[in-house]
Amino acid sequence: MRAILYILTSLAVIGLAFWAYRENYATQQALGEADKLHQNIRAAHSRLAVLKAEWAYQNRPERLRDLAEINFERLGLLPLHPDQFGMVDQVAYPPAPLLPITDPIDVSSAAAKEDPL
């Protein structure tokens, strides 16, 4: 009875050792993958930061003003002016949709030539 207990215990120890060994390597691999992902995220972040900076730089007010001046003939952009504020009353309602045609009349010109006139 005691011998069986010893054998079972040592088997359990071997099993647990094997499990711990595998878990260790699985963890190492997961950490490696996470590292790689973090690196990718970091790279993506820095790319995004560059793009944002570029966007802000391209949209700086000075450049937009110059562009508006260069393209004035095509776009005709002017600074916002107080008299450009409109009233809601000035906006027309959209035209009412046409009523549905409920009794269509068939019109044909097939017999036009036979008309005596």
Partner: protein, 595 residues
């Protein structure tokens, strides 16, 4: 174990036969047994001590070995991150109230050299000079062939320059990654943003530290890695700021001024939507502080908070508002403004020696009578005047969140006499910054509550304690409106926006006492729309001259007011303020008759 009996029968019998004492045998056996027990116990104890000693030795050896290992290896970040850990460790961005970027980071490289790894130092130096013409070739050759092991060559290089240096192909030329602070809008809001530079520098990274403005004020916040993804949101509006800078720059040039500043502030929250100080600079390439000449002429000087000036007649409205608040006068009370008026042996005169006769309080403001406000100030008294101005924040530096603001401490008279009281009532003898003035006017505009100017976006109104009654504030606003509709600021009329305001023209003080005759500081402090004010705008021009007439004109009405009006015309629509028709006061009807 087989125990030997203490009294073995055989030996007892034998002893009895010999007539010996059998107890001696028992004692002898007991002694032997005790010795055996002692030996075994000792052995066990020794064994235990040995095991314990071995265990402790191993444990301490492990700890020691680990410590040695940690001490000798390069530090590494823990590999397992907690979820949600910040990935970017760069300085936080600064954005405007709508999220437009004002300051961000950019990856760049620094160039350094390790001469002992160089293959051909002379060729490397020649190549470097071709890429960077500002480098000194002889100096480089001397450095590369000398005893130096390490030297920085350039702090920031562009990708093209990096490629060109790469093409030189010398293994002794190396690149260090750098975070660079970038202000994509160039000189826009330069005085607010300040600038950044490098602190401690290493081969792998360098600290970016703020050197001025909001970058320095919030340096700890911006550098905290926990805030890497939460930008600092300012109350500035990029579009409004750009328009204000352009209008003010144009106005400064038209009026031949050497400097100008403007402050646009929300009257209920204290948010500064735009603050301009001209001349300006590019924070990407911050100039060095001037070592000679007047510091206030340097582009780095922030006139809006550091420029502490006697702002002149713009202060008159505070005397009038306080007199109404205290019940000494109302808007229609007649006050004699005839001269001569002497206070403390000093003659109080009017602009160009005019004499307005007897005026109502409203007309004193409209015509800007020094003697009129002086008489009100004498009625108010020194103590009450001091308390009122203190409650409006004119006694200490503004809490505006840039480092320079703390330097803008108002200059108060050393002894506050009756004369000081009179001169301060029309804006002389008390020097404040335009930011102080904006906060003071905001209190009138928002119905009598103190507000603190702030640079951070606020949620909802941030009204402080009440400093004057609703009625005093309303009467003061009506007077300010009259100044524009029929007084000294008639150029300030902007159709639809009902500007109210007060002009102030102060002669500039000479450094050695006295005042210049031909150098003025023209200020227009305005609120709009006057019947329901939303914003305060202060425009100050430094030494303006308007030369369209026969004689050069230097008063604020001819210089600062038209600039402010143009600014309101440009920025009010951008702020979403609708032009409206001023509401007519409802007629007071006490009795109606019906036929």
């Amino acid at each position: 174990m087989i125990r030997t009996p203490l009294r073995p029968l055989a030996r007892i019998l034998e002893a009895r036969q010999k007539g010996e004492n059998p107890d001696a045998i028992e004692r002898e056996n007991k002694r032997i047994r005790h010795e055996q027990m002692r030996d075994s116990a000792r052995l066990r104890a020794e064994g235990r001590l040995f095991v314990l000693g071995a265990f402790f030795f191993c444990a301490f050896a492990v700890v020691g070995a680990r410590m040695g290992l940690l001490a000798t290896t390069e530090p590494v970040e823990p590999r397992a991150h907690a979820p949600g850990a910040v990935i970017s460790a760069s300085r936080a961005d600064i954005v405007d109230r709508n999220g437009n970027i004002l300051a961000t980071n950019f990856d760049t490289h620094a160039l350094y050299a390790q001469p002992k790894h160089m293959v051909d130092p002379v060729a490397a130096a020649e190549g470097l000079v071709k890429v960077f013409p500002d480098l000194d070739e002889e100096r480089l050759i001397k450095d590369f062939t000398g005893t130096r092991k390490f030297l920085w060559i350039k702090k920031k290089i562009s990708p093209e320059q990096k490629q060109a240096v790469h093409d030189i192909g010398d293994p002794g030329l190396l690149f260090a990654p750098r975070d660079m602070r970038l202000y994509p809008n160039g000189s826009l809001a330069a005085h607010v943003l300040g600038g950044a530079s490098y602190g401690k520098e290493g081969v792998h990274a360098a600290e970016v530290i703020g050197v001025a403005g909001v970058e320095k004020y919030f340096d700890d916040y911006l550098r905290d890695p926990a805030n890497g993804n939460t930008p600092l949101q300012l109350s500035l509006d990029l579009t409004v700021q750009a328009a204000a800078e352009r209008v003010l720059w144009g106005g400064m040039k038209l009026m031949n001024a050497k400097g100008a500043t403007s402050v646009l502030m929300d009257v209920k929250t204290g948010e500064v939507v735009s603050v301009v100080s001209l001349p300006t600079f590019d924070p990407n390439n911050r100039p060095r502080p001037a070592t000679e000449g007047d510091a206030s002429d340097s582009p780095l000087f922030n006139r809006s908070v550091q420029g502490v000036y006697e702002l002149g007649s713009v202060f008159k409205i505070f005397a009038a508002a306080q007199a109404i608040e205290l019940g000494l006068v109302n808007a229609d009370t007649m006050i004699d403004t005839k001269g001569p008026m002497k206070v403390g042996g000093f003659k109080i005169g009017e602009f160009r020696g005019k004499n307005y006769g007897t005026l109502s309080v409203a007309d004193i403001i409209v015509k800007s009578s020094n003697r009129g406000t002086g008489r009100m100030a004498l009625q108010i008294g020194i103590k009450r005047q001091q308390e009122f101005l203190k409650s409006l924040g004119f006694f200490e530096a503004t809490p505006f969140e840039i480092v320079e603001a703390a330097g803008g401490k108002p200059l108060l008279p050393k002894r506050w006499t009756d004369l000081s009281s009179v001169t301060i009532s029309y804006g002389h003898g008390l020097s404040t910054s335009p930011m102080h003035l904006a906060a003071g006017y905001a209190a009138i505009a928002n119905g009598g509550y103190r507000v603190s100017p702030t640079l951070l976006k606020q949620e909802g109104p941030k009204l402080g304690p009440r400093v004057m009654s609703e009625r005093a504030a309303r009467d003061a606003r009506t007077m300010l409106r009259k100044v524009v509709s029929k007084g000294t600021a008639s150029f300030g009329e902007v159709p639809g926006y009902h500007v109210g305001g007060k002009t102030g023209t102060a002669d500039k003080p000479k450094p050695r006492g006295g005042y210049y005759k031909d150098k003025t500081l023209a200020t227009f402090a305005s609120i709009f729309p006057a019947h329901d004010p939303k914003y305060v705008l202060i425009v100050t021009l430094d030494e303006p001259v308007e030369t369209s007439g026969d004689k050069p004109r230097r008063t604020a009405g001819w210089t600062a007011v038209p600039v402010a009006a143009e600014m309101i015309r440009r920025i009010a629509p951008l702020l979403g303020v609708r032009p409206t028709v001023e509401p007519v006061k409802e007629p007071v009807i006490t009795l109606t008759s019906s036929n």
